[in-house]
């Protein structure tokens, strides 16, 4: 394992993890994150030379911006202080906005580009959690899609990532690869690929997605989409396969609930 922590990094990681405690009261605590400069520090740590530190930051930020935190107290016990609970979503959205202003999304995209998904499980999980973080931000900030399109390379990364491994091969070999189970796509990689496709759909949808749709088309998205569909269609017609979600590894969060946002039920590749 090349990513060992030196002592200062252990202390750093501990401090990062402790921020999770703040989810207990976003209204009170989140504004402090911005005031104390912690937001910009966290964004910068995404470029830390120790990849594990950057992954730790991603995980914590994903947790801090989670739907569950934003919805804490909504529809809850009537006896609770309404000011505290009703403000949770606003506080989380404000944090999201501050994170974006600190260039978080660009830095997160740069970070996932250096992750070696195929080799390290932790880095594969890191991609998954980064996509989760971006999805959280998109749901908190309706116009984020426009910013992402104009200021980051996320769209290009997604277009590349959602292509299956067999796509570069000759057409004849694609079917053969599906048959050969040992060369079948690793379920964890498939899960990230599927998540990339989901995030793409989210980016393009609605009024806020107009810029993203233009960029998608200009960057060859139509061709990529058609190729991906034709590969899956060809392999499915030749070798019908199940896409049983229970085969996918659990990166300690259940994802299917999120896809209800764009009306998709169940995930099929």
């Amino acid at each position: 394992m090349q990513n060992r922590y030196v002592d200062s990094e252990v202390a750093l990681d501990t401090a990062i993890q402790e921020l999770l405690l703040l989810t207990s009261n976003p209204t009170a605590f989140y504004p402090e994150l911005t005031k104390l400069g912690i937001v910009s520090s966290l964004a910068d740590l995404l470029s830390h030379e120790n990849i594990d530190i950057s992954l730790s930051v991603v995980n914590v930020l994903e947790e801090l911006t989670d739907d569950d935190v934003a919805e804490a107290g909504e529809g809850g016990d009537e006896d609770e202080d309404e000011d505290v609970d009703g403000g949770a979503r606003d506080a989380v959205a404000k944090l999201a906005d501050d994170l974006v202003k600190a260039q978080l999304v660009e830095l997160a995209v740069a970070n996932i580009s250096r992750l070696r998904e195929a080799e390290e499980e932790a880095e594969r999980a890191g991609v998954f959690h980064t996509l989760g973080l971006v999805e959280n931000l998109l749901s908190l900030l309706p116009t984020l899609s426009t910013t992402i399109t104009s200021q980051t390379t996320l769209l290009a990364w997604l277009l590349k990532r959602l292509q299956p491994p067999s796509m570069d091969k000759q057409k004849g070999k694609a079917a053969a690869q599906v048959k050969d189970k040992q060369k079948a796509e690793d379920p964890a990689m498939a899960q990230n690929r599927q998540y990339a496709a989901e995030l793409l759909a989210i980016l393009l949808q609605g009024d806020a997605g107009a810029d993203a749709r233009n960029a998608f088309t200009k960057e060859g998205g139509v061709q990529v989409a058609l190729q991906v569909l034709s590969v899956s269609c060809r392999s499915h017609l030749a070798y019908p396969q199940t896409t049983d979600i229970s085969q996918f590894p659990d990166f300690s969060k259940t994802r299917p609930a999120r896809s209800g946002r764009i009306g998709i039920h169940g995930k099929h590749l």
Binding site: L200, L204, T217, L229
Partner: protein, 110 residues
């Protein structure tokens, strides 16, 4: 895969995308995918609906008809009619009749 269909549907709101879709033989691919079962077929029909809508959809309509799309569409509809009496397929039935009407009118076949 559903997500890719959805992304395409969103993008197809622009004429530029419609034009590229037809150039890249997207119409033909969707016609092939109409032979699939379940969600792939419904999604393919939905993509075709977007691709063929409006003035900019005219080229897709012509390509659709040339690619034997009507045959595929009718056989898909025949299947949904015969399943009419079984409960869960109503979500497939709903898009089909209105799509058919628009496509037939736009493709100028009738």
């Amino acid at each position: 895969m559903e997500n890719i269909f959805d992304a395409l549907c969103s993008a197809l709101s622009s004429s530029e995308t419609k034009a590229i879709f037809v150039q890249e033989e997207g119409t033909e691919l969707m016609v092939i995918m109409m032979r699939e079962k379940l969600l792939a077929r419904t999604r393919a029909i939905k993509v075709l609906d977007h691709a063929m809508s409006g003035e900019a959809g005219a080229q897709a309509c012509e390509t659709f008809v040339d690619a034997q799309g009507l045959k595929g569409l009718f056989s898909a509809l025949m299947q949904t009619v015969s399943l009419n009496n079984s409960a869960p397929s109503h979500h497939r039935l709903n898009p089909a009749p209105s799509l058919r009407k628009r496509k037939l009118v736009k493709s100028g076949a009738f």
